[in-house]
Symmetry: C2
Subunit: 558 residues, 2 copies
Amino acid sequence: MILVTARSGFTGALGWQPLRSKEVTRWSDGRSSSSLSWWEGASGDRRFAGAEERGITSKVLWKMGGMTSRVSGGPAMSRPQTPEPARPAQEDSPTGTGGEDTGDGIQHSHRMLSFSDALLSIIATVMILPVTHTEISPEQFDKSLQKLLATRIAVYLMTFLIVTVAWAAHTRLFQVVGKIDDTLALLNLACMMTITFLPFTFSLMVTFPEVPLGIFLFCMCVIAIGAVQIECSAHRALYRQHILGIVLRGPALCFAAAGFSLFFYPLSYLLMATVIFLPYVSKACSWCKGRLVGPQEPPAHSVEFFTFDLHEPLSKERVEAFSDGVYAIVATLLILDICEDNVPDSKDVKEKFHGSLVAALSVYGPHFLAYFGSFATVGLLWFAHHSLFLHIRKATQSMGLLNTLSLAFVGGLPLAYQQTSAFAQRPHDELESVRVSCAIIFFASIFQFAIWTTALLREEETLQPSARFGGQEHAFMFAKLALYPCASLLAFAATCFLSRFSTAIFHLTQIAVPFTFLLLRLLVRLALAVLRALRGLALPTPGAEDCTTRSPLLPSPC
Amino acid sequence: MILVTARSGFTGALGWQPLRSKEVTRWSDGRSSSSLSWWEGASGDRRFAGAEERGITSKVLWKMGGMTSRVSGGPAMSRPQTPEPARPAQEDSPTGTGGEDTGDGIQHSHRMLSFSDALLSIIATVMILPVTHTEISPEQFDKSLQKLLATRIAVYLMTFLIVTVAWAAHTRLFQVVGKIDDTLALLNLACMMTITFLPFTFSLMVTFPEVPLGIFLFCMCVIAIGAVQIECSAHRALYRQHILGIVLRGPALCFAAAGFSLFFYPLSYLLMATVIFLPYVSKACSWCKGRLVGPQEPPAHSVEFFTFDLHEPLSKERVEAFSDGVYAIVATLLILDICEDNVPDSKDVKEKFHGSLVAALSVYGPHFLAYFGSFATVGLLWFAHHSLFLHIRKATQSMGLLNTLSLAFVGGLPLAYQQTSAFAQRPHDELESVRVSCAIIFFASIFQFAIWTTALLREEETLQPSARFGGQEHAFMFAKLALYPCASLLAFAATCFLSRFSTAIFHLTQIAVPFTFLLLRLLVRLALAVLRALRGLALPTPGAEDCTTRSPLLPSPC
């Protein structure tokens, strides 16, 4: 059955948005149906959603079959699928017009979502600034300073988690809100502004735990965010009640928390912790239930129409955009301080350094060193993340959580490098800071590795078709993701034996790893060739001559 | 002629990248040709580039005709175009394989370019921080403080310009470097790190003008950036000599400047100014030449193969990504300070405010007010920018320059709001700060309006087809872009007459404008209806009854 698909929403007037598009499909037997296809971000794999119009998304998996792929030629669509009968059009949905919605300024806007991700990544990382600005000199590193630093780090981690939960809620909401008009864009800006206050109100709560004001302001923010989300969903989404049920959970709990803050604040904190950890707790509960009770049947069709729930995968594009924002901010964190504070004063240069600018700048040597190391490490971690997500088709909830954890530790890298540089002058204390730095690098990179492992466990669902069958590209990916964990573990172990040279070891690692990345392909090929040679030696067979030729690994791109 | 296009690079393994894709086109007469099609970012309009493989882009405009659009159904391709004969395959380009390049890890990566844009937008705006952190209290606003502030503002504007020039060079380079492999991605990170040092070295130059070190470091950065760009172009681009000629201009001039800095530094500054302003001067010269000499014939085919030059339009997607980065950073600039500095100390609250957290926070009232205003204004300017670029298909050089100017003034908004809030307590000085704020808002928004006007002057080239024929959407766009200029002009004028109430006027404007944006569509429709009614009254004709019905304006989406 030849299928001609007119991808009207795509190359249409409002531009090509990889988030949503509308297709008018003409079957060769004369039927015409309109569907809102849902593209998996930039992955190229399509999941078609059922007969929907005007920005209302349903998630009925309406598989169009392999025919479309023959026309478009995409290898990703070569899986055979049985076409299901077209579902009748939903109520308020005009039949296939084939053109974009007009007159109400409705558009697809992945740019708006990218902008939101940029804002949210800035807000998520805002509380690193007090951490990196904590004046730590090796001589004064006493208990109270340690406590202050620990408090600030805890505040950073909690606010990072809180803003990530808000970002995930935003992502889920806009996965069901199909199209965006002007009003929705403005409401989204209001939502963003409210989210930007969460870190500050959290800091207030931490500094003044018994005062109700902090709790009250935090809960007001959450309620305001919920109200805006309800307004957003009112515009565009189907099954409003189901959405409301989910969107209202957080604000309702916070309303109760605000009330309790006036006379019994520990309960307020408990309720707020529930709000923050609820998505993860809920997911863990359903996983346990699945293990105990056994796999459940998919829900009935009426519910299947709408699956806006906490267990749906995150949009891969938004995960990438949010991660890119965090990586960019953390990478440039230290240069902000260098540009602002480390330009020597002309008077100081004349008086203290007798006019020698070089001497004045060399005082700041550790700051520059810290910046180089921090940028190089964060940049290479981004590079590994980028390569990883090229292979990934869909980001599941567990992968999202691991990504969040990885990003949280990435945020600690500037502090790690600052400490290592600052403590380098004191041979006794540098050991501890070098070890802490190695630990941070290890955790930031091991969670990335865990994302890949998680993806491999559910290959058919999460990986790109071309990356599914092992081979050389898997070896490259493994090498890229394992490099930093191994390097940091080696450095940590080396400091146990050669504690006197811990700084030198650390700097050596910093220099060696980027070069290893550059030569990675060469090294992996060498390693594979050596493995093959060893295998050939171990198992001599008549076919052993074939081992010397290039083994039939699937040549898939990286 | 029926054309079946297999969009292999598209839904292919590496995902769908709206920047590049490879198409194998089978003409109905049996010819087969492979082309690298170049998508205009997210606009959906396609410009096909000539027979290229393996990441080498040429810009021969190989128009494929409207046939492709019939298959894909995109209305944007309905312009009739004559197909030109296929050009023979370039030297090292294998004929149509139809699959992605393999084994070398070559991929399309608009994510890498977005990440680069994020980094560059952070670096471009880094020197706002000293400006907003300048301690200005109304009592101490004397000459020396004014001079310091003016110097810092000048440094910010110059570094913004410098980084924008670097960003534009990066954009042009990656418009010809088609595909990106691991090595290129790592080289790009090195390029980014070098660019991050430009603001610091510029600050050094400004603080120590006669010392050669600042000039030397700046020139070293430019030379290093040039070296990395040459290395990037070596990998992937055709017509290397032509690229080298352009890429090497900046570093060569800077090399000369570094040499001169040792004995005659004014010449160094002249050479460096040439490097920074060269693109704009070159463009202005060619425009003047065009006016004097008359329109020139397009160059011969051999040069046409490669048009990596300073007059090609910028990639719209990169303009949007860079602008989004700047808007996001400026919008959240003040909350960074609030989160870090404006959490009251518990001791202070007990001693100075007798335990009243509300009193302690109200000291920071102006900071919160400044943040609200700043976020709201920047957010709404982003919203206008977003609506503007939905209509735009291609960003010309002049539009890019106007965008840069607009973004530079947007960066001044946090300072404007800070001053307005800080000076509000002193009725005599507030007038000046309110006027300065109105001026900054006016310039930030008028340059956006100028982008639209420039686009209208060359409609066929710059606007989306659907937005080309005037109508209601033009009226909406005009209203959106004119709102801030008019509001700020009105406020400025009002302060001339009612100077006593200047703060109140300013705050009123701040509140009124967001609401006006929300009601904009309604207001524009009302205005259009009034205009039609007036026209109907002025020219009574038998057809006047038709005026009351909806006029046949092209209902194109916003």
